[in-house]
Symmetry: D2
Subunit: 337 residues, 4 copies
């Protein structure tokens, strides 16, 4: 029997960064060069963000992260008030987190599917339909008007709270409970899009629910205006990174003289040379007035390795103790415009 087959039989468990401390190994990495040293510095900056009680922490997620075993890390961040807002690709929030929360996939099966990157291919057609139909059903219950993705994902969280999530930890559900807003600026670009298209097609000629990406941007900008000190914890690049960086400029356009993001860390394996934004350095963002460079660090490492080390470090340093929920989600609902 090979190591591989033995490995697959091992009991599955999402990585729990609250259990064993990684502080010693991360501190040891701080004495080294290259990526180890960068990772340590990013971890200390995240810890510093949490200790700075003025700072609102915005977590940006791109890439397959939830189903890769990081769901519990993010859920623990929400539960312990280590994050105040999330900007994500739709795939993490809908296809991975919400889909599992509906009980359509158990963790064992999910992980097994994931191992050879065949996740997408083996999901049962029928199960997919259940997810589409749930989104469609939620959409049909809503007042036909433009929604921010933040509002819509809030409705998804409410649905889970009322019907009961089928998994131990759900980002959508935990964020709903802690009033942490989740934005997906390209919300149709995931399986939620299928349910929304189905809703719009069925409402032919009648008022429909629509997903207003401008409203997403407006809402996130208003958070920056209300809470001037901010830090970005970016995993991957893409739209979430860009979107969260740009709110500094958007606030200026609205006539508010807000400071740049005070802290910024990014974990990525994107290459700086390909002309795309995912790999653009934080220095560039800085020269454009988006990110201060005093506390910024890019870490060139795949997220499954770097995230448990960085979040684990900050968790066990306990700089977050005494931090409470900023309740940004309900704050946005209240001043609805």
């Amino acid at each position: 029997m090979t190591v591989k087959s033995e490995f697959l039989k091992a009991p599955i468990e999402h990585v729990d960064i609250t259990r064993d401390s990684v502080v010693p190994i991360v501190e040891a990495m701080g004495q080294m060069a290259y990526s180890a040293r960068d990772l340590h510095r990013a971890a200390t900056i995240y810890d510093r963000m949490l200790r700075d009680r003025e700072c609102g922490v915005i977590l940006c997620l791109a890439g397959s992260l939830i189903s890769a075993g990081l769901k519990r890390v993010f859920a623990d961040m929400i539960r312990n008030h280590m994050v105040d807002a999330i900007v994500s690709t739709g795939a993490n929030i809908v296809d991975q987190d919400f889909f599992e929360a509906l009980g359509l996939l158990d963790d064992d099966k999910l992980r097994e599917l994931h191992i050879d990157r065949i996740y997408d291919t083996l999901i049962d057609e029928d199960e997919l339909r259940v997810c589409d139909e749930t989104i469609h059903k939620i959409t049909d219950t809503l007042d036909p008007r433009p929604y921010s993705s933040r509002e819509f994902i809030g409705e998804m969280g409410k649905y889970l709270a009322e019907t009961g999530a089928k998994t131990g930890a759900s980002i959508v559900l935990e964020a709903y409970r802690e009033e942490v807003p989740i934005f997906c600026p390209a919300f149709s670009d995931c399986s939620a899009g299928f349910g929304l298209v189905a809703h719009q097609a069925a409402r032919h000629g009648k008022p429909k629910v629509s997903l207003d990406s401008a409203k997403d941007f407006y809402e996130l900008t208003r958070l920056k205006v209300k809470n001037e000190s901010t830090g970005l914890f970016m995993i991957g690049g893409g739209v979430p990174k860009n979107f969260a960086q740009d709110i500094v400029v958007a606030a200026e356009v609205l006539g508010h003289d807000v400071p740049m993001h005070k802290y910024a860390i990014q974990i990525t394996v994107a290459d700086v040379r390909d002309g795309a934004l995912s790999g653009s350095t934080l220095k560039e963002a800085s020269s454009w007035g988006k990110v201060d460079t005093t506390y910024e660090q890019m870490v060139y490492c795949e997220a499954t390795i770097a995230v448990p080390l960085i979040v684990g470090y900050a968790y066990h340093k306990r700089g977050w103790e005494g931090r409470t929920s900023r309740k940004w989600s309900s704050s946005l609902d209240k001043d609805e415009v």
Copy 2:
């Protein structure tokens, strides 16, 4: 005097693939291994797409392409009916193409700024304001309802047609003239977002223009339903790639049994190992029922080198002759729902 300074003084010209034939070098590459061979195969597949008169060609753009010198290539593709729909990041369409078309940057300055990747940093605040205000102004003229990005970009093209574009070639303007729809599924994630946020803030409490990303997805899906044979020409990955691939599934959700994308080529330097979609192989899309594998090819090369060779090859092979505009943009307007 160094080569560098001499180089910067040279007269600027967007690459014109219609002038000199690259057919011999691309054919020679077909005899080699690795990326050269892949590039040749991608070029022949694009030529094949154009000769297949049933096939609708969807061009997907991610990364800084327009301002990197490829604007004229895409404009020539539109003018010669070598493309039927475009799905892009907002940065290419708004920050680069539309911004230049307003005459805010001349090509010389643009390119010079670009050279050291400082494009974003040196744009004048005042010029930026002009772009924001133009978007804001266009938005204010519209009926306050949800728009697809395709509709909104059509209004931008109309504005350029009426006020006169200040540059030789503009994608937005050419696409407007040829009735080629342009979709930006994350439209607020570019400087258009600033103008839209300004509009929504100014319309406090009153009906507003909103950007409906679900409508984007629904419209592109309807094109697939109407024109079952499709080919994807993807430059970079990100949201445009994902969005265009997913319309096959969305069509099924709406009850239409459409075939997979028949042709698919992608140019990227994203790494397959980072868990993000940009580098996911076309084989994966295939196993999920989105892309047929008979005519698919990924080319691992930076776009500024690969695009002129691939499009230049197809241009000089002249398989596109006799191809006419599908007028998909007005077709969508007509069956507006």
Copy 3:
């Protein structure tokens, strides 16, 4: 004061994997996907190599590793009999390890220089001369004949043992003491080359010391013939990886029917698509009869992060206890041909 300046003032310490256990975090990574899971599997394979008492462990080093903070990790591997032979680029062994052991750079200065990748640039000309001259001096004491790099590095170790190394841990010195052979198949391609060229120029027309790379290959092959069960622990690719893999074939050429390498792990960020060997997969080596695929794993991660986790895991699992030195270096000296 910025985090950066604070960071630089922190006391320097090479990472000590023997102090705190990383077993829990590495085991947690085994439950995840992508690189985390690969890293865990590589760690378990290394542990398995050590528990397999027939297996000779060959460590391959390419890239700047010693001065990046991994010196103590490798020294601990030697001291605890977790490695039986080393194949390395010359830079790690001569420019970094031996250079420091001569006391020409203290650890603090070395690391500081390294931080911005300026290591090579700031070394004092005079200090460089001392290293060259030491190599030249050692060479002059030798019998003028062809040497394997293994023999020459053994003389460097003897020199350190006799004159006293100036640093806490030196790979060259520890390997000399534990009779672990070190091979640098491209030995002239480092600052040792300068001393050797000076020697050969000075010996104009007279018998000279020469560095016989064929002898290196012959010696390493003889180790494979004597100890058929072998495992490779490869950090980076390049010549060391290729050289160590090829001894299986070389043994066959000499008429010995030896098995493939039974275990193989590689840590690299080289890309599989560039046509170079560093990124060639272990599957390829396997199809060529060099590496068995039952226990093989590639980890896509920068070495400063992955090595402390993998070696730390194996150290704290203590599968190496009871393992003794194979004394391969003196074994090769004895059957000198």
Copy 4:
């Protein structure tokens, strides 16, 4: 029938850069940004090297290049005196060029094998033995003393000249004819190593041929001393790049105050962030006194695409006309020490 199968049936031809001019497309790339612009600048620097009649051009080869379809490009460079010395990995020179020149593989088969990167795996055991035995046979005819790889490869060229190469173009044969020295600093790290090990084993206890890597370095250094103005054309990184850069320092160690390499271009897809030398920038080499930065350019592109464009450009610019062979190989033989 798929494009793929059609493609495989196409007649095979090594890329011939002398036939069709790529000057227009390369010049057009000079107007763009990113890699296209870098490629153009590298091409103009190579043209400039050739027009500078003082300059000796050193070509560095790493990665699978010969069998990927670039053999004829390099042969044309030698025949037209566009290169004065070559530093390469052994695989290009022995496993690919010499192996084919022995007629053991025809081009069709070679390329087909290469296509799915299975080159190494499908070579017939018996054919491999012929190559080993040829090397072994050549070695046995030599005086038993230390040889530089340059001397040994010269003997291989002589063997081909006397017995007749079986392929249209062989680097080893053309270089022998034009007296262009070829250095493989890690010569045993290719299938030549098998023949050399067989020779040394058979000569047990008797004087043997040995491969002296220090002599390689000494010889290349002497060329730099004799011909102070030099330019590097590096394809890939690894040992050849490092070796060729270091001769500037080695010349200083020998007491000669030589200038840095005046020109340097490198084509690579290695990442600057991995701590290995392949991706280290030319700026670093510069700060260490090895490479002048006035005329240096790195091109991030796979070699099969970039090399035909860069060499084709320089060929058709015809700056090499009137350039003659420097006969460095016989020059080194004459002052043999």
